[in-house]
Symmetry: C2
């Protein structure tokens, strides 16, 4: 059995949740809080429950404050990046110089990142900022943090170019309820993890339309779900990944969890009920909802795909028409006509 | 444009719903009620809404009583079989002699049927009882009848060995909101349509477990969903169909609609909450729920697969362990251990 000294960067829901299986397995776990985690950190230092996952962090986990990054990384063998997509660049800049390619880097952050005017995936961002010799592992699949924290069965995918490293990580992290499936398709996992939020907006639109009509629209949603997965497969393939990834835990299963709730669906629902894009954004802000990942990803994904020139809009009509709805014409009727010919 | 004289056998939810797109498209539509539809028929004759779909049947649809089967079929070009799986044998025996292979037979009935001690699919049953020269079309995919009746977007699959015939049917039946995709994989469509109800029980079990634990178990459900689709693909392939069918509207999308509600999930939920199988069946009866399709199909599917000898239980662990839970040991803990190694 391998045990690792693991530093988790970011004390949000998933950073907190991962302390449970990782300590149970015998790893030495440190949890570093970012500036945004100060309120959570205070509660954890007082021995309270983590407010976002409803459980206490195991007492053997060492807690580190934002100013203690260097101490937190001292002697670490594995580093889990569990900050938000907006937080990843600053964190990587902070750790540069403190880590080298011998560290096992594991990223759970989802989304597409803008780096120097170019749109990159999370692991591309890590390589760009830390060095191309890094071989990060990317975590995807259906994983609501609260369920991981409560030891409820979860099967995630760890994707890495380097099978030897990721096998060691699996050996150290896997428990009976936190199962790890390995994959070599990093780009596929990242694109599905990012794009699912855009497709969740599309499905939310149908929920909003259904509510406006006083009916359900489950037939249409089930069709849209399947076509969304097919688009994720096309995007994955176009960027050099494997279509199968979209039809795996990283695609179908994660999309399924995403549409069961969450802010992307909520935002889409407002659009489906007839809110204009700006109104819907204001209403989300009024409800205290922060970044809507799918809204951001629609634009970044569009830029990335336009630059790659490997897919035409007609090959990915749902994605393209969500982008158009959100950033160009704002007409729901156009979205429905283009996607459903209605 | 082709118009057909269509007789729908069975005035239940789907039989009633299909009158809407079919008349709109200009077909001449007759609706024949079985003995079980007498109460519905009375309402329809009085011009009331169909109680199961909440809309009125178009006035140009001719209604026929159980004793008027011969009149209902007089001059019909297409015959839609829309009775329950329990009703299919009696209806086929009644129509034998009144129809020949020139009739376009379209079946929307789901399930596996016992015919003379053997388990058959719906179209196999049609061929067995009407003649091997019949080439029935099978309808599958996500299609909640109420949504079809309300003209809400629905995309179904019409599968047939004879592409010429099914193309004509598509030409006559398709509308902007009732879309028809064609396929040649009849056995795949039928097996997915039948087995989905068994997998819906499995997913209901997780809902029941989650409720008992006071949490959600969406991560586990999303994993179970994917594995269920993979099992449907294996069964389809083993019986001569195409694996892709399980990853299409007939598999993924229909399973998605099925787990959004319905009696199979409700039954599974009781099991997950700790009801023994007999208790759960009694509770379902107490709630006024009739046949639980997944319960029946678990047994018939098991017999069919055992006889075909093309799959071992370990290749389809979810299906097999639901069968075992329902008909052999009744132990939920065994199901969870075998399926999730928990």
């Amino acid at each position: 059995m391998i045990f690792l000294r693991v530093t988790i960067l970011g004390a949000g829901a998933m950073g907190g949740a991962l302390t449970i299986p990782l300590t149970e397995k015998g790893n030495e776990v440190r949890l570093w809080a970012t500036e945004y985690d100060r309120r959570v950190l205070k509660l954890l230092e007082e021995g309270e429950e983590h407010p976002r996952i409803g459980v206490k962090i195991p007492s053997k986990v060492s807690l580190f404050r934002p100013e203690q990054l260097e101490d937190a990384l001292e002697g670490a063998e594995a580093i889990i990046i569990a900050v938000s997509s907006e937080g990843i660049k600053p964190v990587l800049e902070d750790v540069r110089g403190l880590v080298d390619a011998a560290h096992k880097i594991v990223a759970v952050t989802k989304g597409l990142i803008e780096v120097g005017g170019k749109i990159l995936t999370v692991t591309q961002t890590i390589k760009r900022l830390l060095g191309n010799n890094f071989k990060p592992t990317y975590v995807s699949g259906p994983s609501i943090a609260k369920e991981v924290a409560r030891k409820l069965y979860t099967n995630v995918v760890y994707s890495c170019e380097d099978m030897k490293t990721v096998s060691q990580i699996k050996g150290a992290f896997e428990t009976p309820y936190y199962r790890i499936t390995l994959s070599t398709d990093v780009i596929g996992a990242e694109m599905c993890a990012a794009l699912k939020n855009v497709y969740a907006i599309a499905m939310g639109i149908l929920d909003g339309l259904a509510e406006a009509k006083g009916s359900s629209m489950e037939n249409a949603k089930a069709t849209l779900f399947l076509r969304s997965v097919a688009e994720m497969a096309k995007v994955t393939k176009a960027l050099g990944g494997m279509e199968e990834t979209a039809y795996s835990l990283s695609g179908i299963s994660d999309l399924l969890v995403t549409i069961r709730g969450g802010r992307n669906g909520m935002f889409g629902k407002l659009l489906g009920k007839g809110f204009e894009v700006k109104e819907a954004l204001r209403e989300m802000a009024r409800r205290g909802v922060g970044v809507i990942e799918g809204y951001v990803t629609a634009k970044r994904g569009y830029e990335m795909l336009t630059e790659s020139r490997r897919l035409t809009p007609s090959e990915i009509p749902i994605f393209y028409n969500i982008y158009k709805l959100l950033y160009e014409d704002g007409e729901l009727s156009n979205f429905l006509r283009e996607v459903f010919s209605l």
